[in-house]
């Protein structure tokens, strides 16, 4: 099957992007240098095409009730124009996906799912919303998604929109115009920096993209690919589905028990299992690891204790461009989670020393 192309494909080609196939989409991996793109986001700004993300729209009198039942978060408590990071879990508490839910209307919610899980999440929401007075619509075709991330984002975007960006709070969204096009503008992101995500009609995406590139150029904005997106989110300690999150683990293992609202009114899918896990605790927990070297522990590599016994597994690892040495996230047994614990990683037969550190690895100054 041919990969789907985003409405910005021609823009990426013109910029000389190297492409990668990701979740059925042909996406820009990098335009020039992943490291330069990473540093641009940390020090200035980066412009991302995230159209591969899945959008699902729920509307109707019981849209909130349906989402309260389907997800682990308290969706009906989200204020109009606000957003929440949440998850959808299986009956056994395993994570199906992590999501951002935007309340876009009195009775309307936009659910944003990972590209690789978009179909599964849509199916689950359709079946879980059965019996509620709400429609569940796959709205992915109606949206391109752009992100401007980095400390200069507000300056760059400010000149292209009538909205006072100071009024757009973190995890809030505003329907507005950018470059004369209708946009749902959200102050969200996956990089550890201030930034915005822009949902636009596919036909308007190239104009908005070009105008952002132009406006950003004097500020040091670069187009940024999925390659640097991964190192940025890793430094920020943000989980990635398929690495840190999976159907085999609950949110509690990932230190994300806070997203599970056991005390919200009514039952929800996975509640019984998640309540039991909250009560009993978990065997392995997600931790941060740092190495003194540039050699990266990578997904799947075994983590060993001082005696050489396997006590965990790496979920993500890479050279941290900001820190100049490698960092990783790993599941390790609860006896080994204290910051300062010395462990090692089996890097293709070579045991590299690592140390448990608090997450995130990188936190922006302001």
């Amino acid at each position: 099957m041919d990969s789907r192309r985003t409405p910005l494909h021609a823009e990426h080609e013109a910029l000389g992007a190297a492409f990668t196939d990701f979740a059925g989409w042909r996406m820009p991996l990098r335009y020039d240098s992943e490291l330069a793109e990473h540093h641009a986001v940390r020090t200035a700004a980066g412009l991302f095409d995230l159209t591969h993300m899945g959008e699902i729209l729920l509307s109707g009198p019981e849209a909130a009730a349906a989402l309260d039942h389907a997800l682990v978060g308290h969706v009906s408590a989200i204020g109009l124009g606000r957003a929440r990071y949440t998850m959808i879990c299986r009956e056994d508490g395993g994570v199906i996906d992590d999501l951002i839910v935007y309340r876009t209307g009195e009775r309307e919610y936009l659910v944003v799912a990972n590209a690789s899980n978009a179909a599964v999440v849509l199916d689950a929401l359709v079946s879980r919303a059965d019996g509620f007075d709400t429609t569940v619509v796959d709205a992915s075709q109606d949206h391109a998604l752009l992100a401007v991330q980095g400390p200069r984002s507000a300056e760059i975007l400010g000149g292209l929109t009538p909205t006072d960006l100071d009024s757009v709070k973190y995890y809030a969204s505003y329907p507005t115009e950018v470059a004369g096009k209708d946009v749902l503008l959200a102050r969200t992101g996956y990089t550890g920096e201030d930034g915005f995500e822009l949902f636009v009609a596919p036909a308007d995406a190239p104009t908005v993209w070009q105008r952002l590139l132009e406006a950003g150029q004097p500020h040091g904005l670069r187009p940024a690919g999925l390659g640097c997106r991964d190192t940025l989110r890793l430094e920020a300690g943000m989980p990635l589905y398929g690495n840190e999150l999976s159907a085999q683990r609950s949110p509690y293992s990932a230190n994300l028990g806070r997203v599970v609202k056991l005390d919200k009114p009514g039952d929800f899918v996975g509640r019984a299992a998640l309540a039991a896990i909250a009560e009993s605790g978990v065997d392995s927990v997600l931790v941060g690891l740092t190495t003194p070297s540039r050699r990266a522990p990578r997904h799947g590599y075994p983590v060993l204790d001082a005696d050489g016994a396997v006590i965990g597994e790496i979920t993500s690892g890479a050279l941290s461009p900001t820190l100049g040495h490698s960092v990783a996230m790993a599941y390790v047994t609860t006896a080994n989670v204290e910051p300062g614990t010395k462990l090692s990683v089996d890097v293709r037969g070579r045991h590299e020393p690592v140390e448990v550190v608090p997450l995130p690895f990188y936190k922006r100054a302001n």
Binding site: S33, R294, R295, A296, R298, A318, L319, R348
Partner: protein
């Protein structure tokens, strides 16, 4: 960019004659382009004896790890220590400052059996 004067392997490495029985080895411009930013290079120790196809070292980019293979039978007589601190030289100057190792060959005539620039050009075009 595929310099005429070099020899090449199917593993996207280049070989330059530096003496009667010595060669310098690195990875091609095509290879570094495919890898993206190189962030770590593991090279063999001096004196290591290698045979064709044996793993000489590793090149890590932000996303992946690739093995470097010995293109010929020989002994490691030099390694590019600069890459320990500046692995990005592999990207910026793959045929120059980004070289990796020098080998003293058991049979210098084997160099002639490697791909020439036009054969490598064809291979890279098909990859």
């Amino acid at each position: 960019m595929i310099p005429e004067e070099l020899k090449y392997t199917e593993e996207h490495e280049w070989v330059l004659r530096t003496g009667d029985d010595t060669v310098r080895v690195g990875i091609t411009d095509y290879a570094q382009e495919q890898l993206g930013d190189v962030v770590f290079v593991q090279l063999p120790e001096l004196g290591e004896k290698v045979t064709v196809g044996q793993v000489l070292g590793e090149v890590e980019s932000t996303k992946s790890v690739s093995d470097i293979y010995a293109p010929l039978v020989g002994e490691v007589v030099a390694r590019n220590d600069s890459l320990d601190q500046q692995p990005e030289l592999v990207n910026s100057d793959p045929y120059g400052e980004g070289w990796m190792v020098e080998l003293r060959l058991a049979d210098p005539a084997e160099v002639d059996g490697l791909l020439d620039a036009s054969a490598y050009q064809e291979l890279a075009a098909q990859a």
